[in-house]
Subunit: 333 residues, 2 copies
Amino acid sequence: MNKIKLAIIGCGIITKEAHLPALKRLTDRMEVAAVCNRTASKAEDIAEELGLDHSAVWTDWKKMISELKDLDAVLIALPITMNYEVSRACCQAGLAVLCEKPAAMTAREAEETATFSTQFGVTYMTAENFHYDRGFLKAAELVKAGKIGNVHSMSWNVLSWMEVDNKYNKTEWRAHNEYPGGYVLDGGVHFVHALQMIGGPVESVFAHTASVDGRLGTMDTAMSLIRHKSGCVSSLNMGWRSASDDGALRIFGDKGSLIMGRGNVKELKPDGTEELHTFEEESSFYLQWSAFLDALEGKKEGLIPERMPADDVKTVLAMIESEKNGMAVTINS
Amino acid sequence: MNKIKLAIIGCGIITKEAHLPALKRLTDRMEVAAVCNRTASKAEDIAEELGLDHSAVWTDWKKMISELKDLDAVLIALPITMNYEVSRACCQAGLAVLCEKPAAMTAREAEETATFSTQFGVTYMTAENFHYDRGFLKAAELVKAGKIGNVHSMSWNVLSWMEVDNKYNKTEWRAHNEYPGGYVLDGGVHFVHALQMIGGPVESVFAHTASVDGRLGTMDTAMSLIRHKSGCVSSLNMGWRSASDDGALRIFGDKGSLIMGRGNVKELKPDGTEELHTFEEESSFYLQWSAFLDALEGKKEGLIPERMPADDVKTVLAMIESEKNGMAVTINS
């Protein structure tokens, strides 16, 4: 089998720091044939790091995908506002697409991304790396095995103090976001995804959202209660301007609890004893690429169910709607 | 000045384990003149512990307060369903009243307790000992001093695994509660009170409530988002059937955070450094009695503002209403 020919569209932080290290470990299965970035210098950096010559560097993604006839797949890692449009165009061009999260910035468009694979007869997947995080997978596995009985609630404070000159916030499209929800959408889809992996699909959400520091985009804080269809309720508090000493996801069942740690999931039993469930850490970006390449080779079982990343987006957008109307917002999926 | 003559109505766990040790340290200011309990043996135990003879033991509180003409004050520590009625009758009889929380079990009655002192010309106070907890007082003081800037949010998981044969749950009126909210009302008023001490009055609340184990009364779990009038939002998750490893109240400001510990409040600063604010621990029941006795001697500044315990009740009842209608419920106060 020939190696999969991949083009990278968008050469920002996430491409450089997360995708590239993963792709370098998968050169037996794929090759990066082209790199594209509006600002050429960033694409040139990536090309150089991959040992590609100047002819592999593009600044216009439309031109690139129309001229390169032998491409199999693209990685899309662009400003959030472009995800839907570029994903759709690439799928339409017959390319397999791995596109960074969030899949889209409206509920309707997010829903449509879930149909791209069938609509265009390609493999489209949102790059939700949390889906391949071995910690969440271990927790989901323990829950499924009935270790802590029926899961009635979860609690997760994902709080940090982001400096205004943080590398992410130096990205113009983040600091002056033209999509709803700012960091809450950008980061929130990850956390909702992990909660879905363990608690199942979301039924409704209530939230208060806020901007603590206007220099961190339009929104940097959201406190939410997510009700899953299973009846489980998740308390998810996100903040990029909240100094904290605790960020553990805690999963509460009627036979015990699970506390997420680094390299382990701690089970707390009703009798006060603990059991440590360990796992070997591995880059979720590497595992994500492996699953994506598997799919291109016909083994699609490892792909993220299409509904999930769309619902991640819809859930975060529902938080914003909830703040406006003071009601729980139902997620239709 | 003569010592204040006190009668105790209700000789259950909280009287025996929390009030009695405090009262024993205040014998220079008050004396327990009578003890009353429907089941005489419990009153006799308390009488014996206080060195009172059998004539001080009563089983009918109405008879006791009408026959003992020289009483100044009563401690009311009864099943929750009786708090309002007995408090009102004692106030009407001209007695000073310290009554265990929750002040009442309906919003209307809770509101009325806030008028007892003026209505009857006595001193009525809900025994909300959290008001005198030096940890919450220290946190409130640090917030007021501007240490962490504007407080935009708080987070508190008050979770524990209560065994069905726990001493509290062995109390018939708790295990088969005839008041709304079960443990959520019983314990929840404490936590809402502490949040009010730091974040100010409550504007609205949204919650999901649940019964994880039907043997723990009608309700043992509530996940809530409380919006304070200041704009601060508190995430308060309560559960009596949730094994957990963390119960710290965390207070997030736009200049840093406070994390409540034992004997200290840890300040987390944006630059990653910490400062420990220590305090000397003291029984909040002792401090509560001291403030109550001060008030009977004319120094009323230490009393709990009357609105607060009423709003504690109304906020928890609003959580239950919120679960029913899927909306945030406004607290009118």
